[in-house]
Amino acid sequence: MTRDPAREGRVVLALGRRALSVQFRRAQLLMPTFVLPLMLLAVIASGTSAARGLREFPDVASYLGFVVPGTIIQGALLAGLTSGTALAGDIEGGFFDRLLAAPVNRTSLVLGRLAGTLGLALLQSTLFLAIAWIFGARYPGGAGAVLATIALAAITAVAIGGVASAIALRTGSLSLMQSIFPFVFVLLFMAPAFFPRELLVPVLRDAAVYNPLTYVVEAVRGLLQAEPALGDPLAGVVAAVGLALATVALATLALKDRLRRL
C-alpha cells in the first residue's frame, strides 16, 4: 500500500470526527467523563479545603485552583478510557473489522481513534477550567498557562487512550473495558492529584515518584498557579509526551498482533 501522508491525515481526521460524534450521541459514555470529575472536584474543594490549615500546605491563591489540576488529569484519564471502551464496542459490533478492509494504513485506524480522544480532552479540560473559574478558581499563570494546561491534558488523554486501545485491541471485550474503570483511579490516586506530594502518606509519596502522572499534574499546578515550586512544566511535557509515544506504539503493536490472529 502506498503511503500518502495527506490521505492518511484525512483518514485520521475523519475517524477522529466519527469517534467524537459517536461519543456525543451516546450520552451514557460521556456522563462519567464529564460529570464524575466535576462532582469529585466540588466535593473535594469543599470537603478538604480545611487542609490549608496544615502547616506544610503551600500558600496558594485559591484551594479550588490548587485541586483543579487533579480534576483535569482525572478527566484526561476517563477520556482516554472512554476511547478504549468505544473501540471495544466497534470491535464487538463488527465495525472495526469493516474498517480493516479499507485501503488505508492500519496505524491510521489507531491514530484516528486517538484523534477523537484528543478532541474530547480538549473540550473537556476547557470546560473544567471554565467551570472551576466561575466557581472561584483563579489562574495566576494567565492565558498561556491555561492553553498549556489544555494541551498537556489532551496529550495525557491520548497516552491513556493508547493503553486503553491496546487493551481493547488485545481483548475485543466491551465488558472488560467497562470493568477496568475503577483502575483508572489507581493511577490518579498514586499521583499528588489533590494534595501536595509532601503531604501524601509515605508509601504513596514514594510510589508517586514512579507515576508519570505525578509530573503532569504538578506541571499543570505549577503552570496555573505561576509557581515553579509546585511543579516543573518541562518535566510534565516530557512525562506526557513520553507516555503518549510509548502507549501509541503499544496500541499499534496490539493492532498488528490482532491482525496476525485474524
Binding site: 456522563m31 480545611a50 506544610e56
Partner: protein, 257 residues
C-alpha cells in the same frame, strides 16, 4: 401470602445466581470501593492533623464510607439488572403474574443486600489489615453492617425507580452517580466542623451524614456506640426507605399504563 414469599424467594435466588454463575461479576463493585479507600487515605491522610478531627487514623474514618459506597453500588446494580430484564422483555412477562408488583422487586432487592455484604466485608478486612481501628467492637460492627445493608436497600429502591422510569440499561450510570453523590455530599472526607462553604450546609441536611455516623461507630474512636449516634442514623434510613420505596412503588404502578 405464602405465594408472594415464594415468588420473592425465587427471584432472590435468581439474582444471586447472576453473581455465582458469572465469573468476576462482583469484582468491579468490590474493587472500586477498595481503591477509593486506599486512594483517599493516601491523599488526605494528613487531614487528621487538623484540630477537631475525631480520630488520628484517617483509614478508620474512611472505612465506613467505602463500605457504604460498595453497598450503594451493589444496590444500584439491582436497578441496572432490572433495566436489563425490562429491555429484554422478561419483566413484562413477570408483570402478568398473579402477585402484587412490589413482590417482583423484593427478591432482587434482597439479592442486592446479600451481594453488598461482599464489598462491605472486603473493604473492612482490607482496612483492618492496613491498620484501621475497631474501637466499637461487636456493637459497632453490627451498626456498620446494618447501615451498609439498609443503604444498599435504599440504593436498590432508587435503582428500581430509575429502571421502571427509563426502562433502559443506559440509565445505569445515573443510578450509580446518584449513589456517588449521596455518599460524597456528606461528611465523607472530614467531620462537619471542618467542612467549608456550601458542602457544610448540604452535608448537615443530607441524611447520609447520619447514616455514616451510624456506621462510623465501628471504627472511629471519637464516635462510640451509643443511642445518640444510632437513632439519627436509623431515622435517616427509615425516612430514605419510605421516600424511595414510595417512588419505586409509584414507578412500578405506572408500568404498562
Amino acid at each position: 401470602m405464602s405465594e408472594a414469599v415464594h415468588v420473592a424467594s425465587v427471584l432472590w435466588r435468581r439474582s444471586l445466581n447472576e453473581v455465582l454463575r458469572v465469573r468476576g461479576a462482583l469484582l468491579p463493585a468490590t474493587i472500586a470501593p477498595v481503591i477509593f479507600l486506599l486512594g483517599m487515605t493516601g491523599q488526605f491522610g494528613r487531614l487528621t492533623g487538623l484540630e477537631g478531627f475525631p480520630t488520628d487514623s484517617y483509614l478508620s474514618w474512611i472505612v465506613p464510607l467505602s463500605c457504604l459506597q460498595g453497598a450503594g453500588f451493589a444496590g444500584a446494580a439491582t436497578g441496572a439488572n432490572l433495566a436489563r430484564d425490562i429491555e429484554q422483555g422478561l419483566f413484562d412477562r413477570l408483570l402478568v403474574a398473579p402477585v402484587p408488583r412490589a413482590v417482583l422487586v423484593i427478591g432482587p432487592i434482597l439479592g442486592g443486600i446479600t451481594r453488598c455484604l461482599v464489598p462491605a466485608t472486603v473493604v473492612l478486612l482490607v482496612g483492618l489489615a492496613l491498620g484501621a481501628e475497631l474501637p466499637g467492637g461487636a456493637l459497632g460492627l453490627l451498626a456498620l453492617y446494618f447501615a451498609s445493608a439498609a443503604f444498599c436497600a435504599i440504593a436498590a429502591l432508587w435503582g428500581v425507580f430509575m429502571a421502571v422510569t427509563f426502562r433502559t440499561q443506559q440509565a445505569g450510570p445515573l443510578m450509580q452517580q446518584g449513589v456517588f453523590m449521596a455518599v460524597f455530599l456528606s461528611t465523607a472526607y472530614t467531620p462537619e466542623s471542618l467542612l467549608r462553604g456550601w458542602l457544610e450546609d448540604f452535608a448537615h441536611f443530607n441524611p447520609v451524614t447520619q447514616v455514616l455516623e451510624l456506621a462510623r461507630q465501628a471504627t472511629v474512636s471519637g464516635i462510640e456506640p451509643s443511642l445518640a449516634h444510632t437513632l439519627p442514623g436509623l431515622a435517616a434510613l427509615a425516612g430514605l426507605g419510605l421516600f424511595f420505596g414510595a417512588l419505586a412503588l409509584y414507578g412500578l404502578r405506572r408500568m404498562g399504563h
